[in-house]
């Protein structure tokens, strides 16, 4: 029996090895062959159609054909697999937050900002989402957005309140929404704030970063030469964490179960009238307008914190991948994707997907494109005046974001001392900075 099972294992492993090595030998040939540009997109079916509209217009103009592959599921894992086979696509369209990680993996080509045709039409803020920790550019920005605050207007009217403009207002409105039965059903079943507090993909840290910047804090101090020290346990950061914790522990104005919730859940909490205040991106307009909360909510600029009114900015970047045999065609496509024509197509081609949330091109006005919708005008103003990107330039920013999420989620679950929690997190940050080779001193 022992012999036969050993034999089986050997047969199985050999069979496996043959198949795997068979796969590994094929890729390199295709990347050198002339053919259409290969573009990989992190997005679902609807957004793929919008991208294809842009690419079709590009092909009609230049004659260069484009093939696309789009998925939301484990997109980066698939990019890694392509990298392992040295068979990367020519272009990748993905979140700006992948910049540092892609760069650390050596799979990006550097971009010369001044040689990008039309690059001068892009805003400086958008370009920061494409900047590496060494100050060079490693992508071309494609879409941008910043978080705004959604407020349930029915509840405001019912309680005779106005939308909050400061942290203090925010807490007062949240308390009233929780305690004063704004939906008038006679039950204590409403809450002030919808928060995606899960550690999944770093949600709670992502949400909290707005408050960190509004308190005047930041994740890192740039010591020059691409080296950093952590500032996550600074007094300002502690102030932001304390304020956030009070929403959960002292004022108790957050929807129940928030600490396991991802954005799908917090979207539902706002749209179904469980919570009345919600920080989210302008992409949520389409989501909310398709639910019963449509026309019963408004979008306002995020209430200002003690230091400023900054808010989380995010974006999508076009990455030119290493090993591409068609770099000039790839750059042409990237240049086309930032033209006003392509950007407008990206905002309007499909009613269900907006692959361009706010245009990175300063000549494209969001409100005009969206039929003078004042909410989009607000989104554009907030992004341009108050947008603040996460430190995506770190070699592995997601690792920092995950560590921050774990620390915040634990602090909120136990209502523990923010200073202690952030101090421990600071230690982890220093270890991570060292591991990633960017620790100063």
């Amino acid at each position: 029996m022992k012999l036969t099972s050993a034999l089986a294992a050997v047969v199985a492993v050999l069979a496996g090895a043959t198949v795997v090595s068979g796969c590994a030998s094929t890729p390199s040939s295709s990347s050198s062959a002339p053919g259409p540009l290969s573009v990989w997109i992190r997005g679902n079916g609807d957004s793929q159609k919008e991208y294809q509209d842009i690419f079709a217009a590009f092909t009609a103009k230049t004659g260069i054909k484009v093939t696309t592959f789009a998925t939301l599921t484990d997109f980066e894992t698939k990019v890694n697999a392509a990298a392992a086979g040295h068979n990367l696509p020519d272009l990748v369209v993905d979140d700006a937050s992948q910049l540092g990680a892609f760069r650390a993996e050596g799979i990006l080509q550097q971009v010369n900002r001044s040689s990008i045709t039309g690059g001068d039409q892009l805003t400086d803020l958008a370009w920061t989402s494409a900047k590496g920790s060494d100050g060079n550019f490693y992508a071309v920005p494609f879409s941008a957005q910043a978080n705004i605050l959604l407020v349930n207007t029915n509840w405001l009217t019912k309680l005779g309140l106005t939308a909050p403009t400061t942290w203090a207002d925010f807490v007062n409105v949240a308390k009233a929404f929780t305690a004063s039965d704004p939906d008038g059903n006679g039950k204590a079943d409403t809450y002030g704030v919808a928060v995606p507090g899960s550690t999944s993909r770093g949600y709670v840290s992502w949400y909290w970063s707005t408050f960190l910047w509004q308190a005047g804090g930041d994740y890192f101090h740039n010591s020059g030469n691409g080296k950093y020290t952590e500032t996550i346990d600074s007094p300002k950061a502690v102030q932001a964490a304390t304020w956030f914790e009070n929403l959960f522990c002292t004022n108790k104005v957050v929807q129940p179960g928030a600490l396991n919730d991802v954005t799908t859940d917090s979207n539902k909490a706002f749209s179904s009238g469980v919570a009345g205040l919600y920080f989210t991106g302008p992409y949520a307009y389409a989501t909310m307008d398709a639910t019963s909360i449509a026309n019963k909510y408004t979008a306002v600029a995020p209430p200002a914190g003690p230091a400023n009114g900054q808010t989380l900015a995010e974006g999508t970047d076009i990455y030119l991948m290493a090993g591409s045999q068609r770099t000039s065609e790839a750059q042409q496509l990237a240049e086309y994707m930032i033209t006003p024509t392509a950007q407008t197509l990206g905002m309007t081609a499909s009613p269900t997907a907006t692959i361009v949330r706010l245009s990175v091109n300063r000549t494209v006005d969001a409100a005009t494109v969206h039929k003078n919708d004042p909410r989009w005008q607000l989104a554009q103003q907030v992004y341009q005046r108050q947008g603040h990107y996460e430190p995506d330039y770190m070699p592995n920013w997601p690792a920092f974001r995950q560590a921050t999420s774990n620390a915040l989620n634990a602090m909120l679950a136990q209502c523990s001392d923010p200073a202690t929690a952030l101090h421990a997190l600071g230690g982890q940050f220093t270890t991570l900075l060292k591991q990633q080779g960017v620790l100063a001193g």
Binding site: S5, A12, G16, G257, N406, N409
Partner: protein, 316 residues
């Protein structure tokens, strides 16, 4: 990880039946020896490609900082040193242990109870058995999403709504670090107890009816019949249920990933969710591989211990 152990759990009864009923066949010696392998080949190749090879490859990657494009960096046993010194992983392993022991014990008890209640050829029992078995054939992601909604920690939640009607709650369930692990365990029991029931039912069907009659004639009551006939008769089956349950428990992932992603405050973090976060969110595939490899070793050791124990029990 599971395939390693499924043959271990099922091989023995098949062999013992062969020994009792089968006659040795000598014609066509080579063809006779080869044909089972040919029949097994499709499954073996699939298992080899999708299970064994990734397992071996994962163990190999444990010794590297994985960099898909630039080439992996050999770092020796540094990842394993990190496994041993990582306090969060230690907590995750503790949770995995608690989850496994509690889920296995409760599922077996509930499964055994259900098997006793639902044993028999009557039609209404067949319908009931099918109904009870439904959680097993429902996708775990669906089950987890539904339970997440049912256990909503406010008055809106169905469970809290019902409890509220009798003056209890609302309970936080998955949203408190104190009750999240217990809630996840209950959901796993709900899902896996019917599976255990099915195996117990098969075991009960295999017990010689004459033994019950003999015991009844000897004046044994229901409890005594259970203690002296049913439970000893189910011994081999019990070790199978136990082995499968332990393996299932050690690799618990889907329900936790969907319901809590290890939170709140890491209270439901298990070894596999921790490895997933390390590999996929933090992009540290080398470290994730070393955690998975350690889990493989733990699973193999536990399985071998169970087999050894089973051998002793059956030898009695």
């Amino acid at each position: 990880m599971d395939v390693l152990d499924v043959p271990a759990a099922t091989a023995r009864p098949v062999r013992s039946r062969d020994r009792v009923g089968g006659r040795p066949r000598r014609r066509g010696r080579w063809r006779g020896r080869l044909s089972p392998w040919l029949f097994l080949a499709p499954a073996l190749i699939a298992i080899g490609v999708f299970k064994f090879w990734p397992t071996v490859w994962g163990a190999y990657l444990s010794f590297f900082t994985v960099r898909p494009y630039l080439g992996n960096l050999w770092i020796g046993t540094a990842n394993f040193a990190r496994v041993l010194s990582d306090p969060d992983l230690r907590t995750a392993l503790l949770h995995t242990g608690i989850d496994t022991v509690a889920t296995v014990a409760l599922s077996m008890m509930v499964g055994f109870g259900l098997a006793l209640l639902l044993e028999g050829p009557a039609r209404h029992l067949r319908i009931l058995r099918t109904a009870v078995f439904l959680p097993v054939v429902t996708a775990m992601v669906v089950v987890a999403e539904l339970w997440g909604t049912l256990l909503f920690p406010g008055r809106y939640g169905s469970v809290n709504g019902l409890l509220g009607d009798i003056g209890l709650g609302p309970f936080p369930f998955l949203s408190s670090a104190h009750s999240a692990l217990a809630s996840v365990i209950l959901i796993q029991v709900w899902k896996s107890a019917p599976y255990d029931m099915l195996i117990f039912l098969a075991g009960l069907a295999g017990i010689d009816r004459d033994l019950y009659e003999a015991a009844a004639i000897d004046g044994a009551g229901a409890w005594q019949r259970m203690r002296t006939v049913t439970i000893p008769g189910l011994r081999p089956i019990t070790t199978i249920v136990l082995t499968l349950g332990v393996i299932r428990g050690l690799r618990v992932f889907t329900e936790i990933y969907v319901l809590t992603n290890g939170g709140p405050a890491g209270s439901t973090q298990t070894a596999i969710t921790y490895a997933y976060t390390a590999g996929v969110t933090n992009g540290d595939l080398g470290y994730a591989s070393s955690i998975a490899t350690v889990m493989l070793v733990i699973t193999v050791i536990v399985t071998l211990l169970l087999r050894w124990w089973r051998g002793r029990v059956e030898a009695r």
